[in-house]
């Protein structure tokens, strides 16, 4: 089968929605997990070992192995969510991102310092109220560069999903290379597509973050 460059490009780009869906869902999940974990780790010393263990697991087990474990391993016993490769990919990456984001936010909390919390509590807020109203907005702004690179990382790691069968960009490139007996073209284009989507996202988040930081005087 022969395809010209444009057909190749279009076929590959059709994988973008899946790439973006996986990374956005994983990022959102990571945020929902990472933000509370970070605050728990800093402010509730008794529970901190749970957070440490969670982070250790995701620092120590490859995402690929986890995807295979959940999709083909657990998927056998619980086909309902896990046999679906898209779900498993987003699930695994979401958990991983939670561990990374927990670290990012922890750094931000330390960077901002305790005075903010103390000031809020002296004004009558309870600890968790103070955290929600005073710390969280600052932590989010402070963390934008780290979050930017985490998001770029998620876009790249979405490529792991091809192994369990998600028809995102990399899988499409692999299919094309088999069917057209030409590997270099689809993969080179794929590489450039990824560079094109990671570069501006990280830059934009960085710049937006710096602007807001200046406004907040951080």
């Amino acid at each position: 089968m022969r395809l010209d460059i444009w057909q190749t490009l279009i076929y590959l780009l059709e994988g973008l929605p899946l790439t973006f869906s996986i990374s956005i869902i994983a990022f959102a999940a990571g945020l929902a997990i990472g933000l509370p974990l970070a605050f728990i780790r800093v402010y509730e010393k008794d529970a901190s070992f749970v957070v440490d263990a969670y982070e250790k697991v995701f620092r120590g087990v490859p995402e690929l192995v986890l995807m295979l474990l959940f999709c083909f391993g657990l998927g056998y016993y619980f086909p309902v969510p896990f046999a679906n490769p898209f779900f498993t990919a987003a699930f695994v990456l979401g958990l991983r991102s939670g561990a990374n984001q927990s670290q990012i936010f922890r750094g931000a909390i330390r960077g901002i310092g305790d005075e903010q919390l103390i000031a809020a509590q002296s004004g009558g807020f309870s600890k968790w109220q103070a955290i929600w109203h005073v710390m969280v907005p600052q932590v989010l702004t402070y963390s934008t560069p780290g979050l930017g690179s985490e998001y770029a990382l998620l876009i790249k790691d979405s490529a792991y999903a091809w192994v369990i069968g998600v028809l995102e960009i990399m899988k499409r490139a692999e299919l094309l290379s088999v069917q057209t007996s030409n590997l270099v073209t689809p993969f080179t284009i794929t590489l450039l597509i990824y560079v094109a989507i990671t570069f501006p996202i990280a830059q934009w988040l960085d710049r937006w973050g710096n602007k807001r930081k200046k406004k907040m005087g951080l």
Partner: protein
């Protein structure tokens, strides 16, 4: 299901072989990456515009795309283009190293810049050349500062080495794929493989943290406020 764990014990040789290869490739990648990364960082700080542009493009390409894509292109693509078969291992190791260097350049650059300003002035004021100051004053300090980031890179690299299984390298993940492929034992195999990665990485991280404490310049963290 628990008998299946015992069943896995028969595959000890494959697992060991795969694990050894994972160790080799990680060791190579992390060392090559550190050395090349240092060169790139120095080139980025010192070099002329051409050097900086080349380095910038290189880093952007390797950091902006998934390792998987890079591996496929290198291992299968390069021999196809030049019509000469090249050993998969050679290409895979090389790309792995180049990928790590792109990330480590960033860490080294950060460490060097944290040390740079005043220490370069001090070195020059004693009559040493820029190069001498870099070698004897700045890099010794930068390497000690960079250890935490480097430890992270080590963990990251070990995890991403799992991709090599799909370019014909028989690493730990490939061992897992083989076992699950031949026998209908899936979940326990991946649990075991995952556990091996976890124990190995956690242990190494502890080792590196210990070394960081041991080799730290006294008071360096105070100075880094």
């Amino acid at each position: 299901m628990f008998e299946q764990f015992g069943f896995i014990w028969q595959f000890y040789p494959q697992i060991l072989q795969g694990f050894t290869l994972t160790l080799e490739i990680t060791a190579f990648g992390v060392t090559f990456g550190l050395l090349l990364g240092t060169l790139l960082a120095v080139g980025d700080i010192y070099g002329n515009r051409v050097a900086r542009t080349v380095i910038g493009v290189y880093v952007e390409l390797f950091r902006g795309s998934p390792l998987f894509v890079q591996l496929f292109l290198a291992v299968y693509g390069i021999p196809a283009i030049i019509h000469i078969p090249i050993n998969h291992y050679l290409l895979a190791f090389l790309i792995f190293g180049l990928n790590s260097a792109a990330y480590q350049k960033g860490y080294m650059k950060g460490a060097i810049e944290a040390v740079y300003g005043d220490q370069m002035d001090a070195g020059l004021s004693t009559g040493m050349t820029k190069t001498q100051t870099l070698l004897h004053v700045i890099l010794p300090q930068a390497y000690r500062i960079v250890i935490p980031s480097w430890t992270n890179e080590f963990c990251s690299l070990t995890k991403s080495s799992s991709a090599l299984a799909w370019v014909g390298i028989f690493d730990l993940t490939a061992a897992g794929v083989e076992i699950t492929g031949i026998y209908y034992v899936v979940l326990p195999v991946w649990i075991v493989i995952g556990a091996i990665y976890l124990i190995w990485i956690s242990a190494m991280a502890k080792v590196f943290d210990y070394l960081y404490e041991k080799w730290k310049i006294p008071g360096i963290e105070l100075n880094m406020q």
